[in-house]
Amino acid sequence: MHELSITENILNVVLKHAQANSVRKVMVVHLRIGTLSDLEDEWIQRYFDYLSKDTLAEGAKLKIERTPVIVRCNDCSESYEADVKNLEHLICPTCRGNRCTLISGREYYIKNMEVL
């Protein structure tokens, strides 16, 4: 699927910052990925290893933190964390309303990176 283009984007951002900071080698990249993304950590790393060959980021480890799916209740406007496995039965813990709007859970965010 689209692991390749997402991973290419990750690598481009990493290399841009590596060059701007005169980095010799990128060791670790810390990422935050929304739980609604269907990409598996293991596959992102595999694609990254493939794409980053012969670059400053070759061999870098991706540390991925998953951010929860947050929704806002349409009835009482309270935000709460949604259980992705149980999206069919989302009930607002405050007012028991069952209609909500997605706030976060689909981001691909690079926080920082450990470099030499």
């Binding site: 283009s5 997402i6 269907d38 999206l87 691909y108 450990e114």
Partner: protein, 225 residues
């Protein structure tokens, strides 16, 4: 031993695409051309819906079509045969369209005088949901044979769309598809979703869709650029 430094990046990976998509929306707002992104699984009726839409809007709204296909031009040929400007983007194995690819399509098309451009995205319920194409409206088709459980499997797609067309509704009586359950599941993810039950084969329900689309195009043209 060298010291490991920490560099703050704080960048969204898709930021380039989001930026480009925003530019596309702005540009088309200036020409009063509504861009509509049509998504679905393979075989659920994207091309048939476009052909029905061309028919329904004939003489009222001038439209063009951007077709995405992994490696053929079959769909664009069908559309062009109706005298509609059509651009074929061969994605060469890509599973989705992004804003850069759509920009190429728009650049290749003479959009002056067009009220509406429909993008037929790659047949796939997963990847196209992740990439903003620059469209003003996102529309998806789910066909009855695919099953009523799809909002559970592809929640992102259902949550980013403005319209859900339930196609092949003429098969409903032959299947165990639960239309009430489907609507409930989809509306929980996206309470603002407009749902139309249609059959591109028999033409049932197409009128409601055409009316909605015409209304959107009209109000878009009336809005300030």
């Amino acid at each position: 031993m060298e010291n490991v430094r920490l560099i703050e990046v704080k960048e969204d990976i898709l930021s380039d695409n989001i930026k480009r998509a925003g530019e596309m929306r702005k540009r088309l707002r200036e020409t009063h051309t509504l861009l509509l992104n049509l998504m679905s699984s393979p075989g659920s009726g994207k091309t048939s819906l476009i052909l029905r839409t061309v028919e329904g809007l004939a003489g009222k709204i001038r439209l063009g079509v951007i077709e995405a296909d992994i490696d053929s031009t079959v769909d664009a040929e069908k559309v062009a045969a109706r005298g509609i400007p059509a651009i074929q983007l061969r994605t060469g194995g890509f599973c989705h369209l992004d804003a850069a690819m759509v920009t190429q399509g728009i650049d290749a098309m003479d959009i002056s005088g067009l009220d509406l451009v429909i993008i037929e995205n790659v047949g796939n319920l997963v990847c196209p949901a992740e990439f903003d194409t620059g469209a003003h409206k996102n529309v998806m088709i789910l066909s009855v044979p695919e099953g009523d459980d799809k909002p559970l499997k592809y929640p992102l797609m259902f949550s980013i769309c403005d319209v859900l067309l339930v196609n092949k509704i003429d098969y409903l009586s032959l299947s165990d598809f639960d239309i009430t359950a489907l609507k409930q599941r989809a509306l929980i993810l996206n309470p603002n979703l407009k749902i139309f039950e249609v059959s591109c084969k028999t033409g049932v329900g197409i009128g409601g869709w055409i009316d909605w689309l015409q209304g959107e195009v009209t109000s878009f043209k009336g809005s300030k650029g």
